[in-house]
Subunit: 342 residues, 2 copies
């Protein structure tokens, strides 16, 4: 029989490794019932704690790491401010690690776990397209924030904070249909996206179908291979190409606000106007949408509340107050100048 490790104890208890450490060290920041439960499991499994320097170091570091994918997407900047404020309020320090668009978040997290030993990790943006086995390698408590996770991953293995991307995309497209639009192009994420990009596409498709509008693959505008879909450049390029090709639509539903600004610019550069010639609807609710001319109709995510809740869940995990949980927030349809009734 293999000997039981601290990871096994943590998994059996449904808590993080650092919570088991806290229980072992009689740390004050742990719920007494959780501590009793952990000690019972430890006794039952004959676990012998190994008070290695490494575990102690993890305890001392008191750092929360935020792994952010896509620093150029302004959607995350307001969220980071809230995450940082909430982490500092808990007397932990905060580090922000940028994850390159092409890099794998989980690999970065595993390196970080080894090198910096944070007490907790928040993943911001991107997609975790991983198997359960890969996710289980990460022993630091973590929360996925505004990230889609591939289908079929056991929900008890992770915590998350998000909106219902399928439902909210469906609502936006239904709104465009109510405004008289029937040829609605979707400026999409990558064709192989399995995360929020996929969900927003599913919402687009299901809104069309529920209104009896046939889905037309030619109206889904994917980025060129290698291009980041959440950039202004991408919105500009795919819509310019679409308009130059002679195909037509009366409205563009766009996978993110940032991408939507590129769409508006492409329309302007073709000598056309938003919303007189084309309606444009974004997604996310970033501040620039309010300052852009015309102001952008969008689906606003409640970033502040989501960031706050991500930190709450993370500290519940770290301090052993609860197991993994999932919180879905409602988004808000913000009607502005960029969409008109036709």
């Amino acid at each position: 029989m293999e000997s039981v490790t601290i990871k096994d104890i943590a998994r059996i208890c449904g808590v993080g490794v650092s919570t088991v450490s806290r229980a072992l060290n009689d740390h004050p920041d742990i719920n007494p019932e959780t501590k009793e439960m952990i000690k019972r499991v430890i006794a039952e499994h004959h676990y012998i704690p190994n008070n290695s320097a490494r575990n102690l170091k993890r305890m001392e570091s008191n750092t929360i790491a935020v792994l952010m994918k896509g620093i150029t997407n302004p959607f995350f900047h307001g969220m980071i401010k809230v995450l940082e404020r909430e982490v500092e309020r808990k007397k932990y320090s905060f580090i922000l690690q940028h994850v390159d668009e092409e890099a794998d978040e989980l690999t970065v997290a595993l390196e970080l776990e080894k090198e910096k030993k944070p007490c907790g990790i928040i993943f911001l943006g991107g997609a975790i397209g991983h198997t359960e086995a890969a996710l289980k390698q990460l022993n630091t408590p973590f929360v996925l924030c505004t990230i889609g996770l591939g289908q079929g991953i056991e929900k008890s293995l992770y915590s998350s904070v998000s909106i219902d991307d399928v439902k909210e995309a469906q609502e936006m497209v239904s709104y465009l249909i109510e405004m008289g639009h029937r040829r609605i192009a979707f400026v999409a994420a990558r064709e192989d996206d399995t995360a929020i990009g996929r969900m927003r596409l599913d919402g687009y498709r299901s809104a069309l179908e529920s209104h009896g509008i046939p889905f037309d693959e030619g109206l889904v505008l994917y980025p060129e291979k290698g291009d980041n879909p959440y950039t202004m450049e991408n919105g500009y390029h795919v819509v310019k190409k679409f308009l130059e090709s002679g195909k037509d639509a009366t409205a563009f539903f766009v996978v993110s606000d940032n991408t939507a600004f590129g769409v508006c610019k492409a329309v302007a550069d073709m000598g056309k106007r938003v919303p007189q010639d084309y309606s444009v609807a974004g997604f996310d609710g970033i501040q620039m949408g309010d300052y852009y001319c015309p102001s952008l109709t969008t689906m606003k995510q409640p970033c502040d509340e989501m960031a706050k809740e991500a930190v709450e869940i993370l500290f519940d995990l770290i301090e052993g107050r609860s197991g993994n949980r999932h919180r879905i927030f409602p988004a808000e349809l913000v009607k502005r100048e960029s969409v008109r009734r036709i």
Copy 2:
């Protein structure tokens, strides 16, 4: 006589403490001549190295920290990507620390030096309004990137990468004057700013004076107390208030592009148009300026080159290849739709 410390040796040699450590440990990453020089100084000053765990830990951490002020200013996002890439190319790890608008960078840096022991620090944005004595407390090699430092600080105490903010602001205002504008309002940084905000104001003033236009204090629009000048909200509020007051101008020169989008929106909300009714010129050259409608005339800073150079200087300091140095880059006047001839 007080005993000589590693800090004293570093100061005498004009290198960072970690470079002295490298010399003491015969680390391969140090210029042989620098090593000889340091060893000579050590012998002359009878310095007895204290190989404490703390120094070794600093050596092992191999981390470069970037302290960024103002995460909501998109000017810095492209720069961070380049900084990160360059740091990783050197096989160092990269941490990004956000500094709150109200916080003091140097205090944050001193805490970071104590807690995380980075090998080097890059300060991005903000203002270091400190005395020489305060700056000398920081023993980690550092570079100021796009930061103004108060007048009168001895240049050998720090390294920097910047543009000539006075000269470039002067050039932009001269361009507006050539386009026929004489009543040019300046949407300014804080009244007590001693950094780039002050320099851009000086450039504005000197351009007016050299063209025989009297400086009018009523055309300098400062933020409300407590407002961050580099935000869209600030640009919006001060210009809306100015226009509602019945005062007039034909052009707005704005302290940053981000602020300028707020100015454009305020003009639109007053039922006026850019550039037909008011010309607007920004500063920084962020990507949104190209995508905004109308596209924004601006003074573009060469961010990629500046970020690269900041990393080069930092590693020259860390590896003892050279002492502190200052590099000033030229900016580029980018003429777009938001300014018209009157």
